[in-house]
């Protein structure tokens, strides 16, 4: 298996390389010269010349590509035009929001999708199955932003004076704030401390931060704010996972070894859970990896609906504001993250399947 993993790792190198070239190309292909793209429409000629010299834009294209790659690999993603801040810092700030939302949605999608798929497969053609599959079909057809808006309308407006009321926007109720754990614990950490971005990143994961600082008020408030966006975001992956689980389970339940398990005298529940599920889950690992892409698309839309200041929202703002360095930087980070997640899914598949593990 070491061989399989190494091969898989090696195979992602050209892909990562391709991502760098593609994002480099984005910067060169955008209309107008890179200088106005980077400094904005009102940049003076002198500022542009200085910029070009500084960025090595007078160098031949392959040297520029080399410089770009070096920069990306060292975490230098350029500066935002609108905020005049390093893109890297913006990512450290925004990524936790998206990560929290995405993980919540993915967890929800798996926790609901897998059991629903199993139930559907085991009770094939029953009412439960038909209902689940109709729901799943509607789920994959759902415009996430529409669902988000409708949920917001339902829970924030129609259910306003009931216990079911849920906030339609933001991460925390006004007045509440999440105190970073390092400050709550009085650690001598501030901007400039070695490893500060990591602390900053971790403390921006509100759920994690509030759990380790035992601030339950913030925890519950965060969760309350997370419910609607997470539900909206999880719909499509949940439906896909339910459908794949069902078909994978049906396929597995038709296999010869299931008949063997029954012929041994194993009870049906164990036949399904021990012999069926273990095999049916294998393809689901890959699907979950691929859903991260869907989650990202959904995050752009969901964050914008629920006013969450995450990667998706920032990216959208950057596009509207033509903040090209931010677009480029975010694109690289997200694509690399996506490749890594799928790599991880492939490797866990290899661990789960003895046919690959022992090769």
């Amino acid at each position: 298996m070491t061989q399989y993993i190494l091969r898989r790792l090696l195979l992602s190198i050209p892909v990562l390389f391709g991502i760098l070239i593609a994002t480099f190309a984005i910067a060169r292909l955008i209309p107008g010269d890179p200088c106005t793209a980077a400094l904005g429409e009102r940049a003076t000629q002198a500022a542009c010349d200085a910029y070009n010299l500084r960025m090595g834009l007078d160098e031949p294209i392959y040297v520029q590509l080399g410089i770009y790659m070096r920069d990306v690999l060292t975490g230098n993603l350029g500066d935002s035009i609108r905020f005049s801040r390093p893109v890297f810092t913006i990512i450290i700030e925004k990524l936790p929001v998206t990560l929290e939302l995405g993980l919540a949605a993915l967890t929800l999608a798996i926790l609901v999708g897998v059991p629903a798929g199993i139930l559907s497969a085991v009770r094939r053609n029953s009412k439960v199955d038909v209902a689940t599959m109709v729901a799943a079909n509607i789920g994959v057809s759902m415009p996430v932003y529409w669902l988000g808006l409708m949920l917001a309308y339902l829970f924030a407006v129609l259910l306003r004076d009931t216990p079911f009321w849920l906030p339609p926007s933001g991460r925390l109720t006004a007045g509440l704030s999440s105190i970073p754990f390092y400050r709550a614990w009085g650690l001598p950490i501030s901007d400039g401390t070695f490893g500060f971005p990591i602390f900053e990143f971790l403390s921006n994961l509100y759920i994690l931060n509030s759990i380790i600082t035992l601030n339950f008020k913030v925890l519950f408030d965060t969760i309350k704010h997370l419910i609607l966006p997470a539900v909206a975001l999880s719909t499509i992956p949940m439906s896909i996972i339910a459908r794949i689980t069902r078909s994978s389970m049906l396929e597995v339940l038709g296999q010869d070894y299931i008949r063997t398990a029954r012929a041994k005298g194993l009870r049906e529940r164990l036949v399904v859970l021990r012999h069926g599920l273990r095999n049916a889950l294998l393809p689901i690992i890959t699907i979950v990896g691929l859903q991260v892409g869907t989650l990202f698309a959904g995050a752009v839309l969901t964050e914008s609906i629920f006013s969450l200041s995450g990667v998706g929202r920032s990216l959208f703002d950057a596009i509207t504001g033509r903040d090209y360095p931010v677009i480029q930087g975010f694109t690289v980070v997200i694509a690399v993250g996506y490749v890594i997640v799928n790599l991880a899914a492939d490797i866990s598949y290899a661990f789960a399947d003895p046919r690959i593990k022992l090769d």
């Binding site: 070894y257 063997t260 029954r262 012929a263 041994k264 005298g265 009870r267 003895p354 046919r355």
Partner: protein
Amino acid sequence: MPAKSAAPNGNAPILEVRDLKTYFFTEDGVVKAVDGVDFYVKHGEVLGLVGESGCGKSVTSLSILRLIDRPGEIVGGEVFFEGENLLDRPLDSMVDIRGDRISMIFQQPKSSLNPVFKVGSQIVEVFQIHDEKMDKAVAWEKAVALLKRVGIPDPESKAHAYPHQLSGGQAQRVMIAMAMALQPELLIADEPTTALDVTIQAQILDLIRELNHETNTAVILITHDLGVIAEMADRVAVMYAGQIVEEVSVEGLFKNGLHPYTQGLIKSIPVLGSVQEQLNTIPGSVPNLIDLPAGCRFASRCPARVEHGLSICEEHMPNLLEVAPGHEVRCWLYEDAAGHTAPLKPGKGKKKK
């Protein structure tokens, strides 16, 4: 149906199947895969169940353990095992029979083993299903011993292997070990060697034979290969289109097979060492199991019907009747319309030259 309450010579059969009907309710119609099957198996004997593909022999065997999945359903009949009708049991309690008192092995040994578990633990599972208190280590010891018994080389390490690391022959040995683990009274072997090479087939058949002698386990051997039948079976039931058409001792089958289908089948196989210019063929094809003819299911292909000009064959179904001690046939050649066995009366439109 004439009842056959007991097999001849007072030896009560271990298994007796009466008028078993298993239908599949498909979109295209009701497939009568097994449609009134009767046979019995005596203690310690090997019953061969022979027939061509789609004749219902596998469905019959799965029906005994009630392993029929939707859209299939057992719609009628009785399966007496040691005097108890298995079809009367609550389905849940079939797990006490399966793997413990009746066990099965299948045609595709490699795909019949779960790819994600070690073969050793798949055998251990059998022990633990039927004796929850059994210690894992003890069960593992027993599993290794079983692997050794079925002739797996280096059983200690092979127990840790996964199915994909075994050859087809080894996988079938593991299946046999699993099936014999609790020394069942009956083993159902559904085409156990069809997927294997001849030299490996010989090994597996030998093993089954040995176990049959050693433990006195009765065996239902399902196969399409008359050669395997001749080597292995004590008695044979021939199936055609969901029914038994002939049931007789193995010597009786090859020396004195009475049903025209049996005769045709035996004459259609090339025999090693005997030179034949032309092989006998059975014209036409098996009737569609959804839309079965009213009369004898073999009538449309039956040369004897044409030869003797029998018209009853296409109108009425013959019964499975005992025409000689221990020899039953389902054919109008040996039965008159009143249901009595009778020697053949040539019909009017006889065509013999």
